[in-house]
């Protein structure tokens, strides 16, 4: 059966009433978006007086619900709007020493040495690379604590002012001062059900007080029937097996998230869901939308249609599109699209990709990419499930004692072969040890691609034994291939056993991998020898047993880390190390639905503290959960507690986590690493 949908007819356009239009200017285009439940019509009047009308999705639906359609304008326009209407903020020093701290902390923390955690790091690590320098991430105390707070000004200062990270406003928040709303924000999306808790802390309503008397409840566990789409995630990864086209199309439409990649000529390159028959017409529409904005000052980056957010990333000859009904921001989706683009570069390299399209604009890229769908699917599904690593652009390490990690690093360095560029030991998606040359650092994006290949896509471990994989690491160098030797280790392996004579793999065998990367394609045997030597030495000095124990122990739960805390989960990113820590998803977020809700909450928190650069602390209460995000130049911390947790208890938990991280810093992060 063929799909053939008209974009729109002129006379149909006349019937469409401008019910909820939003007129906007975009470069040389005047765009007019209009939509009802199932379609967007876009009329874009260009200098040539051309009109295009588009519908999305390309189906007819009788539903009469009206949605507001929002066009996301290019950044330049947004800037203007922000300057025109928004009050920006900047930090000033206040002398109100009687102010109550927003984050309650022990008296010693107010002015004592602990305050250094709040001070800005002088480290100017290049933001994109894991810095494995010898220097600790813990910044030196550079000034005495201040009582500065952030302050809203009615004067519109330049953006550069508001973007400057402030060291001052972190240490103290004044209460009773309207202005502190500027840097910390509280919202409760469900005011009818739960009274707003005032940031100022004076007027806790009676309802709230009585609620607090109830026993503590876990996040996302309230008994009210969940909206239908809550469970959509359960079917998100199902394949279409039905023969009936209508059923398949319905299933396709109900996916929470779509990823499309198309070439500049509008040929599909990749789609997570649906075959050519389903996506063909949609690809054409996307191509048209993107093309209509290509000549404007800035290409279109995204727009909102009903509950779906469209995000578009144009990279040379490729257009990448994410269509998401999950609560994710444009910035976060762009990040995910970047990662998919890196996966394509990892297969083809940039010069090869460009050459193919300059030789032949009509290149059907699906053929050179054949077999890599599983990797793209792995990434895409990871994003749909919610990936803390991608959200934070950071890596997670296996927690080990400092001396143990140093021993592993030294063993790794000692067995290094001459042609090695990078060496990694990774356990279940977490980094155990890295060796690297002094002048090269490892890009988190590259590592994410490797981890996806090793631990998510299942393409490598399915092979068992050893692998020799040519691939491009675009963050390191996007022009050529490096060669990756991968061996999954049985942590129980005896030193005298040969790699080929191992027992049939069990689940544990897939968890620990040695990855050795060389720029020379003739190094397979050299790297294999290195791996054998490395494994023997790790067995001998007991490191293998230590790694095994650490893997078996898994991530600590939140209550292991901070006994008795109200917090149920957190993400802590050390900015200097480009690494993050999180507790186990057990017991509260073990299933797909609650896990996704947790990740959605993190995405919202992340956007809240990143969208407005002056917002450093963000506290949110909903029917489902309480959440607190805290951003400083040193770290980003996102934490979640049950809906009845008190703000004071949350703040106490957050401070305890920070103390724990400071104590455990050299265990949970790889600091320094093995450099040669």
């Amino acid at each position: 059966m063929q799909i053939h949908r008209r974009l729109s007819m002129l006379d149909e356009w006349a019937i469409l009433k401008p019910r909820c239009g939003l007129e906007t200017k975009c470069g040389s285009h005047v765009g007019y978006f209009e939509g009802d439940a199932e379609r967007i019509a876009l009329a874009s009047a260009t200098g040539h007086n051309a009109i295009q009308l588009l519908q999305w999705p390309l189906t007819s639906d009788n539903s009469d619900t009206t949605h507001r359609i929002e066009l996301l304008m290019p950044a330049a326009d947004l800037d203007d709007r922000i300057r025109g209407n928004d009050e920006s903020t900047r930090s000033v020093v206040a002398d109100d020493d009687t102010a109550r701290p927003f984050i309650p902390r022990a008296p010693s923390m107010r002015h004592g040495h602990n305050a250094e955690a709040l001070l800005q790091s002088t480290g100017s690590a290049s933001p994109g690379s894991i810095r494995l320098s010898k220097r600790k991430s813990r910044p030196q105390l550079q000034s005495h604590p201040t009582t500065a707070l952030s302050y809203a000004e009615s004067l519109p200062p330049s953006r550069s002012v508001s973007r400057r990270p402030s060291t001052a406003q972190l240490s103290r928040f004044a209460s009773g001062n309207e202005s502190d709303r500027a840097s910390s924000q509280t919202y409760s999306p469900n005011e009818a059900a739960l009274d707003r808790i005032s940031l100022l802390g004076h007027d806790s309503p009676a309802t709230w007080q009585s609620l607090k008397l109830h026993a503590e409840v876990a996040p996302f566990s309230n008994d009210e029937p969940a909206p239908d789409d809550d469970d959509d995630i359960l079917h998100e990864f199902d394949n279409f097996t039905d023969k009936d086209h209508q059923v398949v199309f319905h299933g396709w439409k109900n996916k929470l998230k779509h990823f499309f990649i198309l070439s500049a000529s509008g040929k599909p390159v990749y789609s997570r869901h649906g075959d050519d028959q389903i996506i063909g017409a949609h690809i054409g529409v996307i191509q048209t939308i993107v093309s209509s904005y290509q000549n404007s000052a800035e290409p279109i980056r995204g727009f909102q249609a009903g509950t779906s957010r469209f995000t578009i990333l144009v990279k040379g000859p490729l257009t990448l599109v994410a269509i998401s009904r999950l609560p994710e921001s444009e910035r976060q989706l762009q990040n995910q699209l970047e990662s998919l683009y890196m996966q394509i570069l990892s297969t083809l390299t940039l010069p090869s990709l460009e050459k193919m399209f300059s030789n032949r604009p009509s290149t059907d890229l699906r053929r050179p990419l054949q077999g890599t769908d599983v990797l793209l699917d792995g990434l895409a599904d990871g994003f749909t499930r919610g990936s803390p690593s991608t959200l934070l652009s950071a890596l997670e390490c296996l927690r080990l004692r400092k001396t143990h990690r140093r021993l592993i690093n030294d063993t790794f360095l000692a067995s290094r072969s001459p042609n090695l560029v990078y060496g990694l030991i990774a356990a279940a998606g977490r980094l155990v040890s890295v060796v690297r040359p002094k002048k090269h650092s490892l890009h988190p994006g590259d590592l994410h691609l490797i981890f996806n290949m090793l631990f998510e896509a299942g393409s490598v471990k399915a092979n068992g034994g050893e692998n020799w994989i040519p691939l491009c690491l675009p963050g390191f160098n996007n022009t050529g291939y490096v060669y990756m030797y991968v061996s999954f280790l049985n942590t129980y392996e005896q030193p005298d056993q040969d790699a080929s004579a191992r027992r049939p793999s069990s689940a544990d065998d897939d968890q620990l991998a040695v990855v050795l990367i060389s720029a020379s394609k003739d190094c397979f045997f050299e790297l294999r020898d290195m791996r054998n030597e490395l494994v023997i030495q790790l067995q001998k000095n007991g490191s293998m047993a230590i790694i095994r124990t650490a893997i078996a122990r898994g991530q600590a739960t939140c209550s292991d880390i901070v006994p008795g805390t109200v917090l149920r989960h957190f993400l802590y990113k050390s900015r200097g190390n480009v690494q993050f820590v999180m507790p186990s998803l057990k017991p509260d977020f073990d299933d797909l639905v609650t896990r996704r809700k947790l990740m959605s909450l993190y995405h919202e928190l992340h956007e809240a503290v990143h969208a407005k650069t002056h917002l450093k602390i963000h506290y949110a209460v909903s029917q489902d959960a309480c959440a607190l995000a805290w951003e400083t130049p040193v770290f980003e911390l996102y934490s979640v507690a049950g809906p009845r947790a008190s703000r004071a208890a949350m703040c106490q938990g957050v401070n305890q986590i920070i103390q724990w991280i400071r104590k455990e810093e050299e265990r949970v992060f790889i600091i320094g690493g093995a450099v040669f």
Partner: protein, 207 residues
Amino acid sequence: MASRRRMLLKVIILGDSGVGKTSLMNQYVNKKFSNQYKATIGADFLTKEVQFEDRLFTLQIWDTAGQERFQSLGVAFYRGADCCVLVYDVNVMKSFDDLNNWREEFLIQASPSDPENFPFVVLGNKIDVDGGNSRVVSEKKAKAWCASKGNIPYFETSAKEGFNVEAAFECIAKNALKNEPEEEIYLPDTIDVVGGGRQQRSSGCEC
């Protein structure tokens, strides 16, 4: 998924407004014809699976608007086409005269690597009208023009009666396929690590 590996061919249909481009496509894909004329706005997109010499292909057909005011979108639509179909109305002399413009416009905008040999197919549509009595462009004249442009295959069709439509599109698919290159194998360079694998991008704003 097996269907994913199917080769995709992009076909673009050009011609004056009202010559029956959309009707031809509708007839080919849906076996339907409507006398009612609705101008195409921007472009229509359609996919159809075709079998040719035991191989399955997906034709991605881009039916463009004939009206001049839509030509600003040309590049986006023309770029990377595997075959270009030029349609005229045998009853309207101007639509035939304009074929030259359409062909040249396409070659300029799409700028294929080998313009001389880019696959075109010409269709003379609406041969059913008035029993052929209102016809103003003779088959001979059309064929002469096609021959002069590098032997472009020529078909006379009736979208209304479905005459010759299937055969025309089969030829279109065949021509699109002719443009298919030998499988290119491109081996990327190996990186010179000593010279420094450069760190050329960051993972985005950390602020």
